[in-house]
Structures are given as structure tokens and as C-alpha cells.
Symmetry: C2
Subunit: 96 residues, 2 copies
């Protein structure tokens, strides 16, 4: 009746990050930080967790001389997101 919710995605910030990455080809740290309103520390930690899970990839490079961290969602991350949304709908579709 109530399927388990992937704990990696059932987190406000991680869900926002993955949701954002679903809608764009890539996004860098600063942009994600702006869009989500997260603190750097929190974002850094959550990006690490998503990376460790294989849900996103991180590429570190430079924009001019400044460091730049670019994130992308992986096919596995897309699947996980879709699964999470599907599961969640069992919770929020009242009276069905």
C-alpha cells in the first residue's frame, strides 16, 4: 500500500538537486546552490552522497582560472528519480 521511498532521494536538498538535474543537461555547483538556496557545506555533502550512489557524476574543471564543479544526472539517477516519483504518488494520491 505504501511502498518504501528511496532514502537517498527522500531528502529535501538531494531531491531538489536531482530534480534540477533532470531538467537540464548539466549544472555547476554555484548554479545549483543558487537555485536550491542551499548552503555550500550542505550542498557539498549531498552532492557527495548522490555521487557515491551513482545517481550523478561530478566533473571538476576550471572556468578561466576559477574552479568549477559540473554535475550531471546518470541514467541510474534518472531511473531512481522516476521510481521515487512513482512510489510517492501512492502517498499523495488521496482516496484512490
Amino acid at each position: 500500500m505504501f511502498p518504501a521511498l528511496d532514502p537517498l532521494l527522500h531528502s529535501e536538498l538531494r531531491l531538489a538537486v536531482v530534480s534540477l538535474l533532470m531538467s537540464v543537461d548539466e549544472a555547476d555547483f554555484t548554479y545549483i546552490k543558487e537555485q536550491t538556496g542551499a548552503t555550500s557545506g550542505n550542498l557539498s555533502v549531498q552532492i557527495d552522497k548522490l555521487t557515491a550512489a551513482g545517481y550523478i557524476t561530478v566533473e571538476k574543471g576550471f572556468k578561466g582560472k576559477m574552479p568549477r564543479t559540473t554535475c550531471r544526472i546518470t541514467p541510474s539517477g534518472m531511473e531512481a528519480f522516476k521510481g521515487y516519483v512513482k512510489a510517492l504518488k501512492k502517498y499523495i494520491a488521496v482516496g484512490k
Copy 2:
């Protein structure tokens, strides 16, 4: 862009409990436990939190000689649930 999610509802078990109570007039402890698959301890704690928040009410009585705990959602709980669902949709409606 990503609205805050009510932390009281952003919990797998509490969300299941509230979701369940949205769909019925009332439900007792044992029934909720069956439907959610939760352990008694966990359910007891989460029911307390929802009660403290004013999202549900708890009525203790007896069915014959056995104790019975009946839960109902409050108007405030209904509002909170609706708000949570609305906020959540910003996260799961990709590409909109």
C-alpha cells in the same frame, strides 16, 4: 523554485499515516500499523509527533476489554497535507 517541505510530513511513516487518515474517517492503531507495515514503537512515536503538531487527534478507549487507540486527521492536518503535496509537486514535476 523549490519551496520548503514541512519536516513533519516529510517523513515516510508520518506521511503514510496522514495520507491514510485523509482517506478514512478514523483508523485505529492496529489498522494503521497493518496498513503501513510500521513497528509499534515507531508508529507510537510518530503518532505522538503528529498529535503534538495538531495534525491528528487521538482517542483512547476500549474495544471490549482491550485498549483501542483511534486516530483522526484534523482540519489543520488536512491543510498541512495539501500544502505539502502542493510544494512537493514543484520537485517532481520535471521540465515544467
